[in-house]
């Protein structure tokens, strides 16, 4: 085995293998791929290229299309100058557009936060198309080269790829599992029947469903510290139950108002405490509402119950740009928060 020359190129990487590596690593392999590809461009085209700088381009978000089309341009120049007879796969404009479009699915999150697994998956797939096109072009550009021009034998197994796949999988597998679970639990979540009761908190409290149009979603769906989460009758209507152990009702109400004001500083908030004389439970309520340019009318409604064993809060939110629609939603959100009950 001969030692490759200092500026020898990385051996070609089969497109399918790149696709596999990106998939196995939840696209984390793109960082290594960028380093290797820009190293080749530096060695083959422009010594001024700094591969470590190019590794960071995924962090540019939708603006990745700028350096992305630059890589494609380097490859096109390389092809035009050295290999005029081979095919052309990665047009810079096309690559730039694909990379830009790759971020568009994330806009779905604004409309529907529950669609994050789908949005992320679509974004990855489109981004990977750009990388695969660039890799295909790179492979074509390297085709006329002598085997000795490569650092290792072309098309062979490379140890670093196995390491990358292994390490990347540490991140990728839990992520895929989460996405899968989320999709399975939430997208298949049936709408809860009015009157249904969902117990939680080791049997200390429950949520009685008082309205139609609500579905329960899995843990950590949107709130990592929520005990229960619900998806409401409209996209931007959701609710979550929190354990507020150690706090008084007043403290929870105060915290919730402060929390809302961090986002909506001019929200109009009211706090009130009521008494259930069957269970002698004190129910605290805080409602903050207002109108913002981004969300339209919004309402945070929170219901807090406390006894000697538990302090629990049911927080619900809705917003809508249409005031009439919002008014109806707001009532439904208020009704939903009334369903929080302590189990005595």
């Amino acid at each position: 085995m001969t030692t490759p020359p200092d500026k020898s190129l990385h051996p070609p990487l089969a497109v399918w293998k790149l696709a596999l590596l990106l998939a196995c690593t939840a696209t984390l392999y793109q960082f290594m791929w960028l380093f290797r590809t820009t190293s080749d461009l530096r060695d083959a085209r422009d010594p001024a290229i700094q591969p470590w700088h190019w590794v960071l381009i995924p962090l540019l978000g939708p603006f990745v299309f700028v350096p992305g089309q630059k890589i494609a341009a380097y490859l096109k120049d390389w092809q035009v100058e050295d290999n005029k007879d081979i095919g052309h796969l990665a047009d810079p404009v096309m690559v730039g557009m694909i990379m830009f479009v790759a971020y568009l699915p994330l806009l779905l999150l604004i409309i529907d936060p529950l669609s994050w697994p789908l949005a992320l998956l679509m974004s990855w797939l489109i981004l990977c198309l750009a990388y695969l096109a660039l890799q295909g072009q790179l492979n074509l550009n390297k085709q006329p080269a002598d085997e000795t021009a490569f650092r290792a034998a072309p098309w062979r197994f490379a140890k670093h790829q196995a390491w990358a796949a292994g390490i990347g999988a540490i991140v990728a597998v839990p992520l895929y599992v989460t996405m899968f679970t989320n999709v399975r639990e939430n997208w298949s979540a049936a709408e809860l029947e009015p009157g249904a009761v969902i117990a939680a908190g080791n049997g200390l409290y429950q949520v009685r469903i008082l309205d139609e149009g609500w579905s329960q979603v899995g843990e950590n769906f949107m709130e990592s510290d929520a005990e229960l989460e619900f998806y409401g009758p409209q996209d931007w209507t959701w609710a979550a139950v929190y354990d507020a152990e150690g706090l008084s009702v007043d403290e929870v109400l105060e915290f919730r108002e402060s929390f809302v004001r961090e986002t909506y500083s001019r929200a109009s908030c009211t706090q009130v405490k009521t008494l259930d004389d069957e269970t002698w439970t004190i129910r605290g309520r805080v409602e903050c509402e207002g109108r913002s340019p981004l969300d339209g009318d919004y309402l945070y409604a929170s219901s807090v119950l406390r006894n000697e064993e538990v302090v629990v809060e049911l927080l619900a939110f809705t917003s809508d740009g249409d005031s009439a629609r919002f008014a109806a939603l707001a009532e439904r959100v208020r009704t939903f928060t009334e369903g929080l009950e302590l189990i005595l």
Partner: protein, 643 residues
Amino acid sequence: MTGRLYLLASIALLATNAATAQQDIIIEDGVTWLASAQHEDPSALDPLDGLAPPNGDEVFDVLYRSVRYRLAHDTVTRESFRIYRFNDEESIRDYGTLRSGYDAASDTIAITRAMVVDSAGEMHVVDPATVQVVADDSFNVFSDYRNIVIPMTGIDVGSIAVIADVVTTDRSKDIAPWGAVLYEQYGVPIGKLDLVIEWDAPELRPNWNSQIEGMNCSESDAGALHCSLVDIPAYEIEVDVFYDDVTPQFVAAEAMSWEQLAGWYKPVFESAVSGDPSVVAKSAELAAGLDDETEVLRAMHEFVSKQVRYVGLEHGSWAYRPHDTATTLARRYGDCKDKSALLVDLLRQQGIDMSPVLVATTRKDAGKLVVPSSSYFDHLIVCGELGNGRQYCLDATDPYSGIDQLSDWTQGAAALHVDQASGPFTLPADDYSMAFREELDLVLTENGDLEESGTVYYQGAYASNIRAHLVGMTSDELDEWALADYHDAVSSLVDPEFRIDGIDENNRDLEVSWTATYESLVSQDQDLEYAEYASWLNQAIGFMFTENEHYSYLFPGLRFDSVVTFTLDSRWRVDQWSPQIDMQSRFGRFERTIDQKGSKVTLRSRFEAPKALIPVEEIQDFTTFLEIIQQESSWSVDGVLRD
């Protein structure tokens, strides 16, 4: 068994022979110690034969009790027979001296048995020379009722005492219809109770009713009623109870309807309303310059309640009959009926017609008055309607209440209109026996001092009760009272300056105002976290808890209104404050709204829990309700230090 009977008969014969050797002894006029009470008589214990002692572990039992009434045209005779058992030394100390009561004006009494059988079986007869006859007068009330106090002799633990007497009432000397009330339970358990009522003629047959479960009563054609009850436990002793309402009773009374009873009393009362010139003149004097009937009512009531003091001369028929109004006016004293008659007379001179109403102050449930009887009633007030259509009931013995409210002790009591052909009814009662409001201004100064100025306005019966306590105090004593109350309710950190208004004015609120400064109460260099209790409300709620476990609780009702303003120095900016409160329950409600304008936070609170009979099974919930209100009535304001 036959042998025992023979032995007892022999002993009884010996005892009878011995008795013939004794003479009746006159203790004093109308009080006789019969010869039968002067010797040992084992047959006195005969009622215990075959009788199991009462259950329970009481230190003092009534093993047997019997009451026998005999109703004749001229007399009523009551034979009473009681057998007690003393189970420990303390019971001997507490109950070893027994009593028999009678009315010296109309009754004669004869003691027929007074002996003790000690634990060794030895008999001890009470020496009549040791017997005392004492008047049963209480402060400023004088009557002919007497108690014969009998120190029982030779009692040790396990002793049995027997006391028996016969009281004969001369009906010509007692103007009231005969009546008797017998309770199922007393403070001690009873092994057996026998009750007999006999009447000499059919027209003397009494009305009677027994609400006592398990009491067997049978009426014979021969003119007798026999009732019997065994193994009667003692009643449970609790504080917040009207025992006359909750204890089942046997009531018997001379046969008459409620209308007849009222008809009997009306002329008795009216005989005192003389329209004497002195009364006419006084009435004119009091009404001078007053055009409004309400003002006249107020003036007359104020005069009679405040300037005619309470002294009861209730000898003989004066136990029921008011003294002539001219006499009462001249004496400037009288009891409830004297003062009521005077008030009626004064008002009638001004064309305002009020009439007497008999009141049973210890009974709040008029439905329990099932047999028409004067025995229930112990008080008299007057009621009537003014030209404006408004009803008034006035207690002429209450110098601390205005005309808009009845005295606290008569509110809600069972009563009988003397002028109306109707049965018992319940007197009006305020929904809130304790009603008061608070105005409080709190100012937090730049250097962290809290300047407090406040006024508590006591209203209605609550004001009357406090007035009764405060009236006659010197200014120093008033300050001491107010300071102690403030320290108890609010804080002992400061000694405020007080002002008290309305002590002598029944028709307005009683006001207690104060100012105080709490120096350096908060740090001036830090954000503010100020919390405060609703101190006066908490104190009042503290009076409302009951420890009843066996009887329903008649909750007197509490209403509290409060306006608190809390003003921060410009050093702080108001940031957050307590939640509003809207707590509704079956016992009452508590509401609080909070407004903030600039540096001032205003809290308006109202607590309302109306008068109610809380069933014993609800008392725990009721206690929880009060505890929650005490806990939730606190409030807080947070301020952020300005840059």
